[in-house]
């Protein structure tokens, strides 16, 4: 059984699909269909492409209910569910805050908004003002300053949709990931074990990767969020502070410090939302259908601030590096 590997760029990152199947021709065709699905989601959910469905919603939904596709409605319903489940710490209306922090684009240089600015910012955030009418399939913004940004969840959603395509094609063993931060393991890896993913310490940048933990995915998804990735360092104070691309929707403050969160569940969409929420909040309780933890690096190493790493999440020799 030979692995078929397909890599491509989407959502400003690198996606990869690895399939194990007795028929590599069939596996390649299935991987290509999954790729097309991911690209379709990308074009639908792009915040920047003027002609995307999301951009049209952002332009028009504060003026009138905007009819959307069935796929977009399912995604927004998921957003609503996860917004509630995470006690509002996952909020896809965070775009204005990210822009104010200068964290919208990879090349942007960040700045720390004043306390007053942050108070104003918080007023512009809130998925509660996004009204969904499933029967009419419309989206309406009850406040004119709302903007949807699905960047925190689109990778997971795209991977979930791609997994469905693979399952429909009869693929039972595969690993899919987007940017190495969101992954799905289907079935068993080439050695017959569950796909094992390594969570790398982002603060050790030289030499061999340093694994914080290794997680076996038993037909599950995984998402990791961290401050490193898209971040800036504020040198204006007495101490240097690193701010990451996740902003607390309740305070308007960007996440700072050496922090990392991990979420594992059946759905990559759920994982994406929960890893974001866990990175943001210091007091979330994780529901039973999700395995999740938030970690902070101190002089003593990585310690859990929320939940605890699953005892099975241990570094093992057969860990699969995704880089």
């Amino acid at each position: 059984m030979h692995p078929v590997r397909l890599a491509f760029n989407a959502m400003a990152t690198r996606f990869e699909i690895v399939i194990l199947d007795v028929d590599p021709v069939h596996a390649r065709a299935a991987a290509e269909e999954a790729k097309r699905e991911i690209l379709r989601v990308e074009s639908q959910c792009s915040f920047y492409a003027a002609a995307s469905e999301l951009s049209r919603i952002n332009r028009e939904a504060s003026q009138r209910p905007v009819r959307c596709t069935a796929g977009m409605m399912r995604l927004l319903q998921e957003c609503a569910r996860l917004h509630k489940e995470t006690n509002r710490y996952f909020d896809p209306t965070i775009a204005p805050a990210l822009a104010r922090w200068g964290l919208r684009k990879q090349s942007a240089s960040g700045r720390v908004p004043s306390a007053e600015e942050r108070r104003t910012l918080v007023e512009t955030i809130g998925f509660d003002a996004v009204e969904l009418d499933a029967s009419a399939r419309t989206v309406y913004f009850a406040r004119h300053d709302r903007q949807l940004d699905l960047g925190g969840i689109a990778k997971g959603w795209a991977l979930d949709e791609a997994r469905l395509i693979l399952e429909e094609s009869g693929i039972g063993r595969a690993l899919l990931h987007g940017g190495t931060s969101t992954a799905i393991g289907m079935g068993r890896d080439p050695s017959g074990n569950h796909w094992k993913i390594g969570v790398e310490d982002p603060y050790i940048v030289s030499g061999e990767p340093s694994w914080i933990m290794g997680i076996s995915l038993q037909d599950q998804a995984l998402s990791v969020s961290g401050v490193r990735g898209k971040w800036f360092r504020d040198d204006s104070g007495e101490t240097q502070i690193e701010y990451g691309h996740v902003v607390d929707p309740l305070t308007g403050m960007a996440v700072s410090g050496k922090r990392l969160s991990v979420a594992v569940s059946d759905s990559a969409t759920t994982c994406d939302a929960w890893s974001t929420a866990l990175l943001t909040s210091s007091a979330l309780s994780v529901p039973s259908h999700i395995a999740g933890t938030a970690l902070q690096k101190t002089d003593l190493g990585w310690t859990a601030t929320i939940g605890a790493p699953d005892p099975d999440w241990q570094v093992a020799a057969e860990i699969l590096p995704l880089h």
Binding site: V25, A29, A49, A50, A51, R59, A70
Partner: protein, 421 residues
């Protein structure tokens, strides 16, 4: 083509039911099929169906949902998996496996046929017979006899719209460039060059081996017109439109360079299309290299135009006359050349307060424009479609002969009698 009778447009012009009553009283009878196909004289969207929910059928269905004059009521596919996907994407639409259920539904006004090329003929003939307006994907068929039968039926259906899926004929940027070339902006058109590159196996997957064989008709030379016929038909049609003539011969080459997986169509092809005026169109397509994707180049003695991603730029020769407006136009650098951006609808965008040089927020894919033209025809017509049966037939003839040239690696002449209907 004779004027079409009792069109919705004419009815609206007449402006009263009394007029229709008068016409009927005068003894002119509505054919039963035409009555079924006719618009219901309301502002309600036209109920329609998509037959074939593969990749292209899904694009068509998505475009229909984005056109207010159309209402997607039914999706037909004989593959249960496709109907499950239809349920996810279009939960409001009924799903049927037998196309006759679509044709027997009197509420459905129009059908969009997006099945495998070799399956078009029976579907088109039955749909027209059932009184439906028909949009048929290009190529119309995989052999000239079937294509001719389809086109003849389309032309004979006087009260029904028949539109072939020649996408660039209705795409605003391509239409704009056509007008531009016709106005003499590039001087004398000398040649064209087009390419379509995508790294993909072109293969579809299925959990059932038998179904996979059926889904992969594109890879079977007995069913498929290959890359030049199934994909290149659009770009070659545009070249013919620009040059203003039908091809008289095609020389083709190709091979299976990479995807040696049992397929019998080439994965990399080149072709030279000859026109009566001495112009040639060069075309190549590959599933092996995705480099530089897809574009069309139109060369003239004063300028060359490139079209890609529904955008266009013009590169002028140093000795070309100045065009009054070009000093105001946006210019983009391409390596050592400077291209003048050609923008369709620039005046309209400006009037709407949108910067014409930014990405158009209302940009739609070519299939949307093709279906919008069909919907407008339903609303205000029927009048002869821009991409009518004759155009669809002639383009299909070129596609068939070009594929023959590529498969056999030789020069194939296309005599005028082949274009006859």
């Amino acid at each position: 083509m004779a004027p079409k009778r009792f069109s919705r447009r004419n009815f609206l012009k007449a402006g009263s039911l009394g007029t229709l009553a008068g016409v009927l009283a005068a003894g002119e009878r509505l054919p039963a099929e035409a009555a079924a196909a006719r618009a219901p004289f309301t502002d309600d969207p036209f109920p329609c169906a998509v037959i074939g929910f593969g990749e292209w059928g899904r694009e068509i269905a998505a475009a229909i949902e984005d056109i207010e004059e159309l209402h997607l009521t039914t999706i037909c596919d004989n593959f249960p998996l496709m109907l499950r996907r239809a349920q996810r994407a279009h939960p409001q639409a009924a799903r049927v496996a037998d196309y006759r259920e679509v044709l027997d539904d009197p509420a459905i006004v129009a059908v969009f046929i997006a099945t495998a090329t070799h399956e078009h003929k029976d579907l088109v003939l039955d749909a027209l017979q059932a009184g439906k307006h028909v949009y048929c994907e290009a190529p119309l068929a995989n052999n000239i006899e079937d294509a001719r039968t389809i086109a003849q039926a389309g032309l004979a259906a006087q009260d029904q719209i028949f539109q072939a899926g020649m996408l660039y004929r209705t795409e605003p940027q391509y239409r704009s460039v056509y007008g531009f070339v016709r106005s003499g902006a590039i001087g004398r058109p000398a040649m064209t060059r087009s390419q379509w590159h995508q790294k993909t196996s072109w293969r579809r997957s299925s959990s059932s081996a038998e179904r996979a064989r059926s889904l992969n008709w594109r890879l079977d030379k007995d069913l498929s017109l290959g890359l030049i016929g199934e994909i290149g038909i659009q770009q070659i049609d545009y070249s013919s439109w620009i040059i203003g003539a039908r091809p008289k011969a095609v020389t083709g080459f190709g091979g299976i360079m990479f995807w040696d997986d049992g397929r019998t169509v080439k994965d990399t092809i080149q072709a030279m299309i000859e026109y009566p005026g001495g112009e040639n169109a060069m075309y190549d397509a590959s599933l092996v290299s995705g480099f530089d994707a897809s574009y069309d180049l139109l060369f003239g003695n004063d300028a060359t135009i490139i079209l890609r991603d529904e955008k266009a730029w013009m590169f002028k020769e140093v000795d070309a006359p100045m065009l009054g407006w070009e000093v105001y136009a946006r210019k983009d650098k391409f390596y050592k050349e400077t291209g003048i951006a050609l923008l369709a609808n620039a005046t309209k965008l400006d009037a709407l307060g949108q910067d014409p040089t930014e990405d158009d927020p209302n940009a739609k894919p070519p299939i949307w424009h093709a279906l919008k033209a069909f919907a407008d025809n339903l609303t205000y017509g029927p009048f002869p479609a821009i991409a009518d049966a004759r155009l669809g037939f002639e383009s299909t003839v070129v596609a068939i002969k070009a594929n023959e040239a590529v498969q056999e690696g030789k020069r194939v002449e296309i005599s005028d009698d082949l274009y006859e209907l």
